[in-house]
Symmetry: C2
Subunit: 248 residues, 2 copies
């Protein structure tokens, strides 16, 4: 159990031309965001950058300064456009070479003749990094400083996230309650702002959508690390909605 | 027709706690990425930041310095957590107030009694901004300097993007050809790197996937603004694959 003021932050760096060109639609941001929320890590920023060393190095360095953890996805495969491991080594100013621990794992998975120049790229790990286990197809990610480097293929990334999550420091979870407004956002904006102001330690968000009858509706999400404060604010929101419905 | 060295760049700033918490899965990044590629704008970076003024201001200023255009999505609705317009005004150091042009549009769409304090938030436009048309539900986005501010709800964002796209300067499109490898990435990495090296002006990416028979496969994407160069590199890739298949 963590104290409610115990906050652990993270950023996610998505690496890949294919996301920026729109050819591949990213599925990792939403997954990692939800995962972080569930384990008590606050995802505070996401960046997507192309397969260009300078861009990766600059983003890794900007983000690792600022957040407790930085996750990266993409660019650790066997082809020439997989430059994440080398870029991360450069960001940390450390060397990189084929890692004996990864080689041992690869020897269990591949025939000797298949451990070629391309696959050896996947064994390149910056000096001083820990490996991140991959229960899906074995070849690991790695962890250096506060930066956790994972694959871009969702099923492999998910296995790596499961591998690393138990080792992360986590904070108090942000709890949330969803209240369906059954009113239009534009009709409740002012009283909702008053409720938000009355509960300064609680985040209240309003998310418009069209409901199952095609009517404009809104979900009001009340979020806090403090359960009592969250419940009080949620009660305030419910009362506000009732008051509005009671109006002529 | 643009010259092939005519390059227009853009960044996308996604604003919203709900994306970072994982509650809402972003659908705008992939859509805008593909749209930009199709009209000849290079999307070079994406950032996702929370509903915090300082974060939005800093990201807008970092990105507008660096790219020809910055698109933003999210945070322009009628509730207290919609702080994008005010944050963008602050980033540009200009004032902001209810805009008469937006008010005129709202008067056509809403009954007088529905133009309340909350909905008037949606009419707040930084001084000097142009409006971005919204054919979906009328209330516009805006455009100031090189920053284009759009809604977060996908269908509304898409209408705004259609509204603004004809007014954007565009460059030569990046053309692409996809070649299905029918081999494993790890088996073609080294020869593919040689082809990439022989065609330095062309980007060659390798994207692993499991094909319809469940076998590991890879799509090789050859990209360039220069059609002849792209075709030559694609031919190089095809020949490389044939050579490999011919091997015992």
């Amino acid at each position: 159990m963590n104290a409610i003021d115990d906050i652990v932050t993270a950023a996610l760096l998505v690496i890949g031309d294919e996301i920026l060109s729109g050819r591949t639609k990213d599925k990792n941001i939403g997954y990692i965001a939800e995962y972080c929320t569930n384990i008590g890590v606050d995802l505070r920023e996401v960046r997507v950058v192309p397969d260009i060393e300078r861009e990766i190095v600059d983003a890794v360095n900007a983000l690792r300064e600022r957040y407790d953890y930085v996750f990266t996805t993409g660019g650790i495969g066997p082809t020439h456009d997989d430059i994440t491991a080398d870029s991360v080594a450069k960001a940390f100013g450390v060397g990189i070479d084929v890692d004996e621990r990864v080689l041992a794992i690869m020897r269990e998975r591949f025939r000797p003749e298949d451990i070629n120049e391309a696959r050896l790229r996947m064994a390149r790990i910056p000096f001083g990094a820990e490996l991140v286990e991959n229960s899906y197809n074995k070849v690991p990610g790695f962890w250096i400083g506060n930066v956790i480097v994972m694959a871009g293929v969702p099923v492999i990334m998910q296995a790596m996230l499961d591998g690393v999550a138990p080792k992360l420091r986590t904070g108090a979870k942000i709890l949330s309650t969803t209240i369906r407004a059954d009113m239009r956002e534009g009709d409740i904006g002012a009283p909702l702002a008053a409720v938000a102001k009355a509960h300064p330690g609680v985040m209240i968000g309003s998310y418009p959508y069209w409901d199952e009858q095609g009517r404009p509706n809104a979900n009001l999400i009340v979020r806090s690390r403090d359960e009592a404060a969250m419940n009080a604010a949620a009660e305030g929101v419910r009362r506000m909605l009732e008051d509005m419905r009671a109006k002529p």
